[in-house]
Amino acid sequence: MRFLQLILCIGFGGGLGALSREGSMSLLHGELGMPRYIALACVNILGCLLIGLVFAFLEGTLRRDGSSRLRDLPHSKQLDDHPWWLEGDSTLSPVELLRMNRSLQAASALVITGFIGSFTTFSSFSLLTVQQLQQGATLEACISVVGSISLGLAAAWLGVHAGCRLVRKP
């Protein structure tokens, strides 16, 4: 039953994400006249920024049992003066923890796995790269690949950092 709810959340978020991807692709590519690979890179990088932000925000506010992946990262220094896992926050009752865990699951299914995961895409990216290589536009293919990967990584870093800042602020 729980699983079914999660799947429904993901499906709903995924539908919205795919729709907004097509919408923003047609806006950037069709209305503003950008080349297709730049429009796709813009969508992907925006999605990376959003996923970093939302991930850090959700982990910092809702995951308090100490199992967060942020815990081993330098970003968690942002959260140090605001105790956000169980050793520092033992006042929470188990019921509260369970409730937080449930809402974390639902929120990350809806927003992260569903919406943002479906908003960004890898298949169009590799198809476009193949087409560029076949047409002999090797320089553009290199720009697209290197730019997407490095800017996407930088955007995810920025998003995680900003998300941690956002949580710390009372």
């Binding site: 995924g14 996923i51 796995t113 895409t121 198809l127």
Partner: protein, 138 residues
């Protein structure tokens, strides 16, 4: 619009199932599920695109008196293309890929290189192979 939404919902659900299955039944690290989903989605996208492209090329050679039939098939093909864009786009993801890479930067550098290079090379090869297969199918 509905086709894109439907495809996106199905694709995102399939990606979630792949992630869960990878966690439950194998001991591989979490990013391999996303890697597999990305490569599979690239292959499907290539196959579908090559197939539809081949169909459109074939049909443009048909006689003009079958105009109505041609229009029908074009609208079906448009629906198929949108469904394909939604499904493959929902199945593959770039944002989770980047987030995984960000964690691997801090945790395990060797796996980071594997993830980025593997995803890029295999994704491009899969899309190319898919285009070839799709062209043969049509």
């Amino acid at each position: 619009m509905l086709m894109v939404m439907l495809g996106g919902a199905l694709g995102a659900g399939a990606r979630f199932l792949a992630q869960e299955a990878g966690q439950r039944w194998t001991k591989l690290p979490g990013w391999t599920a996303i890697l597999a989903a990305n490569i599979l989605g690239s292959l499907l996208m290539g196959i579908g695109y090559g197939w539809l492209h081949g169909l459109a090329v074939l049909e443009s050679h048909e006689a003009l008196d079958a105009m109505q039939r041609y229009r029908d098939s074009v609208s079906i093909n448009e629906g198929m293309a949108l469904l394909l864009a939604g499904f493959c786009g929902g199945l593959t993801t770039f944002s989770t890929f980047s987030l995984d890479n960000l964690f691997l930067v801090y945790e395990k550098r060797g796996q980071l290189a594997c993830n980025i290079l593997g995803c890029l090379l295999l994704g491009v090869i899969a899309a190319w192979a898919g285009l070839f297969i799709g062209g043969q199918l049509a």
